[in-house]
């Protein structure tokens, strides 16, 4: 990393918050928001696009910080929107006409990311990493076929939570499991690749 990059990064953190720790947290929060927005917009490389957005903001921060009024996060959003526009324009110029072959690919191509069975196996080990009460809560939550309000109210009561806190709690457990499963799948893929290379 160059001196210029480090200076820009420091300037960016200082712009987000004078307290370095809070600035770091805000930076992570903004990056997470950007990744999600790119995902929800259907982008396939959301992490890279979020980093590209931050990189563009960093290059401008010394000019912008002194005069910008309002939440810096919104400036990031403006840059992300422009980037999205560029990405869409590039994509449009590449695909002018959808051929039947492309249509077929869209419909029936084997999704290389489809790891349903592996995900299930990883989930089994990830569940063991949860506390007993969290494990019970998440399983009870999913064991009800219809997610009725009444069932959720009872489940919340049973676990000593307010109904809305149950939603938050389930979201956090699910997010934790998702991270754990993704990391488990990556490890498996890496191990398989290594074993194939050793075999060759």
């Amino acid at each position: 990393m160059t001196k210029g990059w480090e200076d820009n990064f420091e300037a960016l953190l200082a712009w987000l918050d004078p307290d370095r720790e809070r600035a770091g947290a805000k930076y992570e929060e903004i990056r997470h928001g950007l990744v999600n927005i790119f995902n929800w917009r259907g982008c396939s490389d959301s992490e890279d696009l979020a980093d590209e957005t931050i990189s563009r903001v960093m290059k401008k921060v010394s000019e912008v910080a002194a005069t910008y009024k309002g939440d810096p996060a919104l400036y990031f959003y403006g840059v992300a929107k422009r980037l999205l526009f560029e990405v869409n324009r590039r994509a449009q110029s590449k695909v002018e006409k959808i051929t039947p072959e492309q249509l077929r690919d869209t419909l029936v191509a084997d999704d290389p990311d489809d790891n349903s069975e592996e995900a299930y196996e990883c989930l089994e080990s990830c569940l063991q990493k949860l506390s007993a009460s969290d494990r019970e809560l998440i399983l009870n939550y999913y064991q009800q076929e219809q997610h009725t309000i009444e069932y959720r109210r009872q489940l919340a009561q049973r676990h000593g939570l307010a109904p809305n806190n149950l939603r938050v709690k389930v979201y956090r457990i699910r997010a934790m499991l998702h991270e754990c499963i993704q990391s488990c799948l990556k490890t498996r893929t890496a191990n398989e690749t290594n074993s194939l290379e050793n075999h060759d």
Binding site: E29, H32, G33, V35, N36, I37, F38, N39, W40, R41, G42, C43, S44, D71, A73, L74, F76, Y77, P100, L103, R104, T106, L107, V108, A109, D111, D113, D114, N115, S116, A119, Y120, C122, L123, E124, L127, L139, N140, Y142, Q143, Q144, E145, Q146, H147, T148, E150, Y151, Q154, L155, R158, R167, V168, V170, Y171, R174, A175, L177, H178, I181, Q182
Partner: protein, 281 residues
Amino acid sequence: MKDVDEEHVLIRRYLLGELEEELREQLEQRVISDSDYKQEVLITEGELLDEFVSGELSPHDRALFLRNFLASPAQRRKLETAKALHAYAVNHKSPDTPAVVEGGWLKSLFALFSSRRRFLQFAWATVILLAVLGSVLLIYSIISSQRPSYYDELVMLNQPSSPVLEPGSSVASAQLSPLLFRGNSDAKTISVTPETDKLQLLLPTAAGTPAKYRVTLKENGGAQVFELPDVSTRQVGANSILVLQIPVKMLTANEYVVETVENSSSADSVTVYPFRIQRSK
């Protein structure tokens, strides 16, 4: 409370990709600047995934979910987690999973079965079991006396050797487009008159060669009208396309979706064709 509900609907529409650009930007600005709001969107996203996996989404929302929500690989990975959780929970269903207890008579019934008087519990259980069995038999006999005539006709119409019908006063025919791309969510409206007794749907498929499909017709509310497990494509001009012929008696003035899955495909890719039936004089 109304505001909370409206907000929830707005977030769902955003995630399903049917929000106008201006509202979409407003929502995204809140996501980036308010972590509580971002969390609310992520919670709603999780609930949407659960509804998809457990088949609770309406056909309209399901089509949008497949087309827009799952557009990015990261979203498809989230679906994997939701599917795994559902499957695991079903496979490990414990007997002490709390049952839904509502107020009124259901609560009284629950209280009855919580009674320590074993004889009373057994007697009531027998009565209820007999009543349920009787009702099931009655409903089955009513349905089986009515349904086969339509269903048999449906099966006959969709044989590989069945002819492609010429549109006319008794045959309404329409070509439907698959829901694949954003901005293409309008269901085609098909008018049927009292003289129309067959509806013929031409469903262009991606496969250029003859293939077999599992075809399901669903109402807008999600209720299945029928499923045909093995429908072959038919030759229309130079093209091999899927032709679905339905007795109009099976349809009402309603919104429907046809879902097709190619039988020989290893991927479980569903193609969705929406349409709307309009009765005219």
